[in-house]
Subunit: 356 residues, 4 copies
């Protein structure tokens, strides 16, 4: 396989540019007999969609997912599932002005240097629109994982402002446009982000994804470790610059005595007294919650002018007009959940293969 | 391929348990015609070896690497390179006492739960000894990359103590037992770590790996991004809990105006004015230094007693006697370099395949 | 990757059922900068299309291929190429009668037993319609290979009737509906196949695919040998039961003295005096023509009644009414060419990766 | 992974040259808990070993297989199994005379052209000695498959002389040095092969491998079909030029009425009335015997002089002195069995992954 596939047994291959005719993906390896409808996918795709608040960009597309194969009479058949989203909003904008410009912080320059050619309209292949397919595939992964495994994500930091973990309330995340689990912080963010947006600027964010109910034993050491695959999946999301498992970076400052998650028995089962490991030891799930965090850099498209160069080696100033997200991290929450689901589904099948 | 292989074109498959007869690996996909000797590999393997200071554990093994194939008359032939390290130090220790115990923070419990059986001697497959093979393979990767690409690593934080970046001096790293680039901090660490060791405790660390000279264009979006593959490779090193690229976690707190690496022309080439991106945009190298950091948790084997359980569901106390590293992160430096080299060599070949 | 992908660097992943809404594929790893249009693909797809003579089944579909991504301003961009063919001919036939029946020689029983569910309409995923995507992908592979490599196929045996190799004329294959290189035999086949069709029966065939201009050196021993990959690609075509390289099965009856292809120098280049090897030695191309043959079994859908069973364990008689090909091997010719092209393009990139 | 690995979940990666220090392999993905000893492997390796009769070459090596990892206290642990065979017979022969010669029918020229360098001693990487590792890995595969699946091979044709299928007797294969299931033909072959050997010539052969007890449902369409994977595995064995499944090439000459394997119920199970399909329909096992045949070309190393060229472009005559097998197909029988076992074990795990 080449570079546009993720997963070994539950595998997802995507295609599509931001302003091409359509985007799509092939989800392969899905077990047969699972109930699946377009509505199941649409629900998750809608969660990441643009245009749901004034904090995410105003491109208005239906992002209607069609299932083209692999589902028969409402159930998966075990054959590959083809998914398609037609791009409706292919405005006949005049891209001539920007087609040779390299926007700082974007992949314009690297795509051009790597391939010698690029679809410059709206970011082309590097556009975050591609993540819509990940979310759709993630919805299928959730079906495979079943209802005992619950995957949820939250924004835990916006710019310099972190949530208060003592105030964590999962029910809050549906009540604000930021997936913020701290109601008080959500209010504060609202004003903060409005200011950022009005200044034509942007901010970064940290997202936390938690998977509950994952049994002990998933993960394939040494080079298919569960945490390594999660790190790859999360780092591969647009604009991500860091990935942490459990205590993460903070583990470096801990002593061995502080960091070790002690174990006791509870109701005949192994129970950990803490979760610095983030639910993974030796690359294998421990049965505790899997906890992954990732940092998203601030949106690169900003109104403020930045120094750059163009394809002809001319020094220019770049200023992005039009719609943009002041905090692209917000929309990364459903994407992170989808990647968690995809990695776990893959490892569920991999574990089943070896252990029966 | 199954879980013990890393890399697509430059691929490394390892085997071996800590106290089995031998460890080895197969390096496949290496271009033919490169000069290669056992001494080339030994040099790097020796850098991570145990017993080089009282800050790393005292297991004394020669760790002699043999090349069993793929090299003829001093040059690689393009066929797979088989490497072997015999395990000399297989003490007939009495492991009976610990064979059913799960050491907190170790993979004892997860291996046992996953496989139903485990080689409990010295960590078995989960032992850091496996990384010797990574280092040997990394030395081959460096040969492929050639001399224009330079990969170096440093310990930038030990426990809570970070180096002062203003004092960064690459030449210092060979002069202290910590790979510390800040001579002053190296002295401070010495006392600090002695205290940790005497207390029977341990500390975590942060390692930074820098690759200079990587050309623009390497990396295979969307699911083979250079940063995603680096994240996977680093997170897969024993005890790693976080991976950062460039500004990393700190990018979350930046604004778009602060974070964007502006571009100018210099000597007819694109020159960036900063490197928050860590040398990667859109999953593709920018031509700047590739900068990766990873956090290693404190050694789990400590003298202080910790609560645990055993394979029979009995609650126990675990206390690790004998040799152990007070800061296992120190030995992770050459391993991180090797993983960087392996990932880059793989992407060099992948890029060449598509671009000629 | 899971089971619906072929190729490592030039990789093709397909989806789609015979009577679902659409079929499609993702072609990944294609080098950038190649001129490519929908017309390029359509030309090859039309060659395998149904309804072109009364010797192939009468399903009349446009089989219009759309390029959904990976091509910009008439050139490939190096990003994945999404292809789609909408299924127009989804007749609202009453399949109720046959939905639980297992047609002998078809995959009905095995799909049902494997997955517990199947799309029974027109063969579902096992339909030869899937090969349209292979042909489209093969057209892209040809672009990668360039004009110095020429791939052509011919039907060399229909039922018991073989072509006379002394009368081989490549120009003849376009002049008869069988891709027959022997004009005289083509005429004989016409009467023969009419008889078979009128009897409600079918016959098998042998197809030969020849690739001229392949340079010495492609193929990746030991487990990525060029002949092994060709064998897999050809055997994976619907209804294929045998694959031969060069002298093939006949090599078993030869002596070493007869079989060896002797070498001389000609115009400063190595020239072989025969080609029993079919252009491959040790899994690597020799620079001679690559010659592959494969046998296609007779179409399983025939008017004559056959004993079978159904999903309820009832013994039944199955008789296939309606359109069918009396010799399905005819349409396998362009498919075999496409598989040859795909395998060669993959190995061209793999060789380039290792050798530069 | 690169080219020296076969299998996706049960994967085997080999290394080693004929006259290097050692050959080895890594068997990955093996389920834990299976009893396994070196004796289990040795038994199969001995079956293919040289020197067992005057019909196979007289290189006398112990070919002692060592297990270096992945087995603990007599059972597999689920971690990779490292295997090693030291090469004892590295005679300090003077290869200078032949080091630049290309033996016709061998891979000398293609390896040299592909890599620009080759280990010319005894065939190097292209030597059939590599198949010893396949056989060892195949023995592990058999353990995974368990005792209900039985894999046996036989030589069914030597030169032009085919066995009489009416006289097929599996018990005969252990009683003659050819794995011949027809006692009468075995006697005839003895005289025939003696004549071939004395003439300094060689002959080809056809091998048939049969797997009994494989359940319905294994195989992963469209590009991981069981027959496609078997074709690749068998074609990848040294000197193989053709692979057939079931009726194979003969299917081309059959009519649909003759070829279809009709079905009836027997003891509540589906029973086929014939097995032209060779146990595979649509790429999925039917529950019947899996029947694969492959043709091996005559040994290329013969005493008779043949025209060739050398690395300097000089025209030469090549004549192979010393030990050689007059019919290399004999030793391919255990190798074919091993490849069947490896492919089936892989598909058993793949099926289990998707179906649970």
């Amino acid at each position: 396989m080449s570079g546009n596939t993720i997963g070994r047994l539950f595998s997802v291959t995507t295609f599509g540019e931001s302003h091409g005719p359509a985007m799509g993906c092939i989800v392969d390896g899905c077990p047969p007999g699972l109930p699946l409808s377009e509505a199941d996918l649409q629900q998750d795709v809608d969660r990441r969609r643009t245009g749901t608040s004034h904090f995410v960009s105003q491109r208005r597309e239906a992002d209607q997912v069609r299932i083209l194969s692999g589902v028969f009479e409402g159930h998966t058949t075990g054959t590959p599932i083809g998914l398609l989203i037609e791009n409706e909003d292919q405005r006949s904008r005049d891209y001539a002005a920007i087609k040779d410009s390299f926007r700082p912080g974007h992949a314009d320059y690297t795509y051009w240097a790597k391939y010698g050619i690029r679809d410059y309209r709206g970011g082309g292949r590097a556009s975050a629109r591609e993540t819509a397919m990940r979310v759709a595939a993630g919805a299928i992964a959730r079906k495979i994982l079943g209802e005992t495994i619950r995957i949820r994500g939250a924004l835990v930091q916006m710019g310099p402002h972190k949530v208060d973990r003592a105030k964590w309330d999962w029910s809050a995340i549906e009540d604000n446009p930021f997936w913020c689990p701290d109601r008080q912080m959500a209010q504060q963010w609202e004003g903060f982000l409005d200011g950022v947006r009005k200044a034509g600027n942007s901010v970064g964010a940290v997202i936390e994804i938690v998977a509950e109910g994952v049994p002990v034993g998933w993960g394939e050491p040494i080079y298919g470790k569960l945490d390594a695959d999660l790190a790859s999946a999360m780092m591969g999301i647009n604009a991500v610059k860091a990935v942490e498992i459990g205590a993460g970076l903070a583990a470096a400052a801990l002593t061995g005595a502080e960091n070790a998650d002690e174990m006791r028995m509870k109701d005949g089962k192994v129970a950990f007294l803490s979760n610095n490991a983030g639910g993974i030891l030796g690359g294998i799930s421990t049965g505790q919650d899997i906890v992954v965090r990732f940092a998203v850099k601030p949106t690169s498209s900003i109104l403020l002018p930045k120094k750059s160069v163009d394809a002809h080696g001319k020094e220019i100033e770049v200023q992005t007009k039009g719609r943009h997200d002041p905090c692209v991290g917000i929309r990364a929450v459903p994407v992170g959940e989808a990647m968690m689901a995809a990695v776990l589904a893959d490892h569920m099948l991999r574990h089943r293969a070896q252990r029966g």
